[in-house]
Subunit: 380 residues, 2 copies
């Protein structure tokens, strides 16, 4: 292994981002090697990944260790994230399970390729201050934040506006009445991106976009007032930055997570990778834009408001949304009930300012229980 | 005058770019001061500019010096461009008159804000090598090249493609037969940009875009094969760069030359200037793109071919085009004859490889005479 080969730990390796991260690493063996893999309960796929990449460290949520001919050390997520031999930690674990390993990587001064939204949404203040203190570099993997990062590169950061694009999801143009009738099958058909089911539903409600606004606030230390969301159905312009002189820079590409994943790994370099598609300007004939419809998609507003209020509101937002999305997927509530339940939970919450990680986790628990209680009332 | 105030000489101050440069400088007196002004024969406007900006150095092509209460020193274009007290030289003189002052500024190691296309098109090799030797910085003022410059900022320049956008001019979608009938009045109505008449006709023939491709080749040291032109009628995306990982960066703004002018003056900083418009994403609903029509607009192809062949071909291209555009404006030839005459002149030219400035100027003379002779045959 050459000294220029970066040793990458992939936490959440069997999920959508994890698998695409391994595709990128597999295509660039001169640049990256897998030193750690962590997965949830998909032990069969994890075992295959271990065979192929031969990591030194493994974590599995499953009770039985993945059977494999390869030798490896079983560690916790935090142990892998903070291990001295790890250069870059890809945080692709889902939900609140991303927080502790992100914090461990921040404390250990790692390069963090961050795909987990909840880390910054729920604990942005704690994680960014730890990263700053320990010179950890948080590089976003989300296509929107990667676009913003790329547009800001080389600039003195005198920014007047961050413009985050939203595909608008599969229900762009739907009225609230139409939205009340949509099924999980319809909501899971995203027009442009391949993603896990939770994120796909969040894209359909625009909750996802709201979480991204909160993330952007922490990643780029930008006030909410200077972050704008615009709908762009083709998902080719991934986001834009307006500078103080009015000049706007945009980053473009086909919707393919492998580009922002690779950029987070290779930054500040760019690497040639034949896997990655090139925009074909013979076939792209138009790019559409529209302001978002806050009436049909109240989750966007709820998220931005929770972000502005801060404290433990964003933690409750994430927890309530996660439970509500599961309830929708299991057909216990309507699509429009997601926003209703999240809004109710936020309304009832008593926030703690500058919360500790424990207080954030407690707010998460509180939010889950609140939605579980509210849904019983809803179904009476 | 504080030490941070940059002393700017504006060559071609009464033309479109010159006047807009003075608007920008007038709005930012904390950052820029006018140390020199040079103009052609518009002595009345030059006198007004002298009153307002009180430059130390003046050049006028007119026989009578501009009458003014102000005191100033009359110098040649080259003397102003190379004067030790000048920090930045804006080259906004038109046609071949830009070459010698650009070269003087390059030899004197100045910041050159370059709006004159012919300097790099006709003498790219000489000027870029002199600039390199003397650490002069050539920063483009053209909106397209400014966009490319901005997209490249902070990147390691591992570029796979420069994508230059073209508005397509007022005759987008016209057939060659329709183009044969267009009048100077129609051609002078550009849909998006305010510019001088020569540049406006060059925009209508797409010659302008061809010259920009040659300029880009020299400014960014990029082979012609990696420079693509695409039509974008709204002129909001000013150009794009595709990097080796397939990521594309674009620079956007309303068509307003004051932004690229200001950026060339303030680079690498950006400055807040209330004159400069902000993109309104509530009103921008779509951006269109299309491949250029090389059959209807043969000037684009002629220019790229002349650029590829190099030597004195680009000088003949510029000279022949300048004469042909004047003949069209004075109604002596048809719109489609512009390409015809330029093509004929290039066909008959015997090029000199790696020409000196004298050889370039001789080729310019040759091209002018050739077109004047060809038009007599055409009109027989």
């Amino acid at each position: 292994m050459g000294s220029s080969v970066k040793r990458v730990a992939v936490l959440g390796s069997t999920g959508s981002i994890g698998r695409q991260t391994l595709e990128v690493i597999g295509a660039l063996p001169q640049n990256f090697a897998v030193i750690g893999l962590a997965a949830g309960k998909n032990t069969a796929l994890l075992a295959k990944q271990i065979e192929q990449f031969r990591p030194r460290f493994v974590h599995s949520q499953s009770k039985e260790a993945p059977s494999s001919e390869a030798e490896y050390e079983l560690l916790s997520l935090e142990e892998i994230a903070g291990h001295p031999d790890v250069d870059t930690v890809v945080i692709a674990t889902s939900g609140k399970w991303g927080l502790k390993p992100t914090l461990a990587a921040a404390k250990a001064g790692k390069r963090i390729a961050l795909a987990n939204k909840e880390s910054l949404v729920m604990a942005g203040e704690i994680i960014t201050s730890q990263a700053k203190r320990n010179r950890a570099q948080i590089i976003p993997v989300d296509s929107e934040h990667s676009a913003l990062w790329q547009c800001l590169e080389g600039e003195s950061r005198r920014v007047s506006r961050l413009i985050i694009t939203a595909s608008g999801g599969p229900f762009l143009g739907y009225s609230p009445a139409q939205l009340a009738e949509v099924t999980p099958e319809q909501a899971l058909k995203h027009p442009s991106w391949r993603m896990g089911s939770k994120v796909t539903i969040d894209s359909a409600t625009l909750m996802n976009k709201g979480l991204e606004v909160i993330e952007a606030r922490w990643l780029f230390d930008t006030p909410f007032e200077d972050i704008q969301v615009i709908v762009h159905p083709q998902s080719i312009v991934h986001s834009m930055v307006e500078f103080i002189d009015g000049s706007v820079k945009a980053q473009l590409g086909y919707p393919d997570m492998r580009l922002p994943i690779q950029y987070a790994l290779s930054y500040p370099e760019r690497l040639d990778n034949p896997q990655l598609p090139r925009l074909d300007w013979e076939s792209i004939r138009k790019l559409d834009f529209a302001p978002p419809d806050f009436d049909s998609f109240p989750c966007l507003k709820l998220a931005i408001e929770a972000g502005k209020k801060g404290g433990t509101y964003p933690a409750v937002l994430c927890a309530a949304d996660e439970v509500a999305v599961q309830l929708f997927l299991s057909r216990r509530i309507k699509f429009t009930d997601i926003a209703h339940l999240v809004g109710k939970a936020l309304e009832k919450h008593k926030s703690t300012a500058h919360p500790t990680l424990e207080e954030i986790m407690a707010a998460d628990e509180w939010g889950r229980e609140m939605v579980s209680g509210l849904v019983k009332e809803l179904n009476k």
